[in-house]
Subunit: 391 residues, 2 copies
């Protein structure tokens, strides 16, 4: 059995992008810190709190770049993430996926252990189940109600009176009701920044309207939470909002680049690959990094610029003009010049190494156990950081 | 930190599909054994050896269903797989991805440890690097040359004289040359079985022709290896072939169903999900199983029947008519009746559980740490089997 802990500890001084095993997930820490600073500065100007989503990194080490000394606040997408980050000292956590009825007791255990946990619901059934659970007098998480601001997924419409019914059930059951939360998932369909200020305003307006409806019915609404990476960056006014969530901004990716939120140079994660073959008659270079290393995510498939399974860079992270991972099998990547481009395939002999920028950082990172950390332009791996996974 | 080993050991007698945490990967062992028996019987009739690919399961426990007492032969897609399966007693291994030059020493260590390892190459550079490595007189893996039978990926054409150049370099360098290997990757583009007997014959003919060319040049060719799950099942005659490889047949999936290799009822893996919400005005049921649990694989996207992110079944594995995971975010699945279908959305209250058949077993299983094993129609989880990952 492979000892993953031993792998993570094994950072010899000589380890570098030239010598490590490939495929390998590479994290450029300078870019991470720059991306964090950019969004923090923007949100500070808007006067709102920041509750970053850690589902992209799933890493205590990365979360500590967001909160060098602190305990959050953070957002998570699974209870396993909540438990992992709590074990590392993060005690202010919002679990921003609709709460399964069978997950109530597991959530309560975290509260028992001292975590300030908020959970998300949007149905009467969930409220009743929480009220029933609370009858034993034990610890309960705080509850946020999910608001649908753009028809993307779950949530109640901001004018739906079910909001009040749910808040009433919680109050009668002695379950702490905390506020409302929404996520402008449709903002991922933007291109080149178009429509994003409007999406941010729609997200804000929906959350604030729902909060006002609840307040008018006599419920205190302490938290008005909005966020997605695109809307967080394009919001111009967040009056009435108390906190913003965003996740993929930490690393960015080609989808965010296509949406118009970042430059390719802002993308902090890449997959290091080694050339294992050539098919010059087809215009192909073969690497050892297929979809197992990149993920199956084809998030730019319907963008004006389809990046295939990723944009190919040299070992130092500089993109080749229009060279993409055009196709992938489990452990093979096929590099090719983008269809219609005048670019030429670079000279990459067998054994050469390239770095591939991913479509979707959350999906690509999830294929790996470990971040190989580099600083700026150097090839030295200065640390290897583990990731968590599972539910 | 979550103790994955503890999770795997923790199979209480009461654990069942009704009570375990979701999302969860479920493995129906009766179907696994049936799928194995079917292909074994077919290949026995054709008189060839079987070297199953274990990249789908990445599990010693599953591999032991293929070889209850034995040590292989198996095929792997990474050296980490080779090391993992070797640690579990599998000592006859073919690593069927083009060998990176920097992986030669790692492959030699396995040979040193007693593994009968074959590696795959298709360039003069790889042959020269192996010959150079062999100068120290240490253990060397056997070498197969990759043949391109259908333009799908790497390999040399069967009439390419480079085959002989490579075999000559190996002979002069004292590196054991073993034979040829090909993979009919294009067979995945078949639909409903059409063209598969012909693809199988093309795969056989290419491998045998390459072997004959090498033999005519004075090289012994002990191994003539072919295989993909579609061609393995549709081959009618394998004269000249010594062994067949296939991987996904162990579990099958919706892509194999669409290609025409299996029935939906043969699919042995599914993802157990819990209903967390409803949007009746949109015809949606929301679950806690998004793409992190299903993978981003959309392998049926261009099939006549697009299965979305998976086909929805009840908790016992019986499909609902035309209900699919129509869209997915990281931890949300959206169930919907297939566009154009007259089917109706089943009554699935909050807290209900469903099982989702995946597009691509290799990709979906890779999102999970553990197989939750069930036998036949029962809901009891009889074992939890770990998976390996990484490179």
């Amino acid at each position: 059995m492979i000892d993953q802990e031993a792998l993570v500890r094994d950072v010899s001084p000589a380890m570098s992008l030239e010598t490590c095993e490939t495929p390998a997930l590479v994290l450029d820490l300078g870019k991470v810190d720059r991306n964090i600073a950019r969004l923090r500065a923007h949100l500070a100007k808007l006067g709102v709190d920041f509750r970053p989503h850690v589902k992209t990194s799933k890493s205590l080490d990365v979360a500590r770049r967001l909160f060098p000394a602190g305990s959050g606040p953070i957002t998570v997408s699974t209870l396993a993430e909540a438990e992992y980050f709590a074990s590392g000292g993060f005690t202010d956590i919002t679990y921003a996926v609709g709460l399964g009825l069978d997950k109530i007791e597991r959530a309560r255990r975290l509260v028992d252990e001292g975590v300030r946990l908020s959970v998300l619901i949007d149905t009467v059934e969930q409220a009743q189940a929480l009220a029933t659970a609370a009858r034993d007098g034990g610890a309960m998480p705080a509850v946020l109600i999910e608001i649908d601001c753009d028809g993307h997924r779950g949530g109640l419409l901001p004018d739906d009176r079910t909001l009040v019914v749910i808040a009433d059930i919680l109050r009668q059951g002695g379950v702490p009701f905390e506020g409302v939360l929404t996520h402008a998932g449709e903002s991922y369909n933007a291109r080149g920044g178009a429509g994003l200020p409007e999406a941010a305003e729609g997200e804000r307006a929906a959350a604030v309207a729902a909060a006002e409806l609840l307040r008018a019915a006599g419920h205190g609404v302490a938290v008005v939470s909005v966020g997605s990476t695109p809307t967080a960056h394009f919001a111009r006014d967040l009056t009435g909002v108390t906190e913003v969530r965003a996740g993929v901004f930490t690393f960015f990716d080609l989808v965010m680049h296509g949406i118009g939120v970042c430059d390719a140079d802002d993308i902090a994660v890449s997959v290091l690959a080694t050339v294992i073959g050539h098919r010059p008659e087809k215009g192909w270079i073969l690497t050892d990094s297929g979809w197992m290393a990149m993920s199956r995510d084809r998030g730019t498939q319907r963008h004006p610029v389809d990046q295939g399974y990723g944009l190919v860079c040299d070992i130092d992270g500089t993109p080749f003009t229009d060279v993409i991972v055009e196709d992938a099998s489990q452990e093979h990547g096929i590099l090719k010049v983008r269809p219609g481009s005048q670019g030429v395939l670079p000279d990459l002999p067998i054994g050469s190494r390239v770095r591939i920028l991913p479509n979707h950082a959350c999906a690509t990172c999830a294929q790996h156990e470990t971040y190989n950390v580099v600083d700026g332009q150097g090839r030295e791996i200065t640390a290897r950081w583990p990731r968590m996974r599972g539910w």
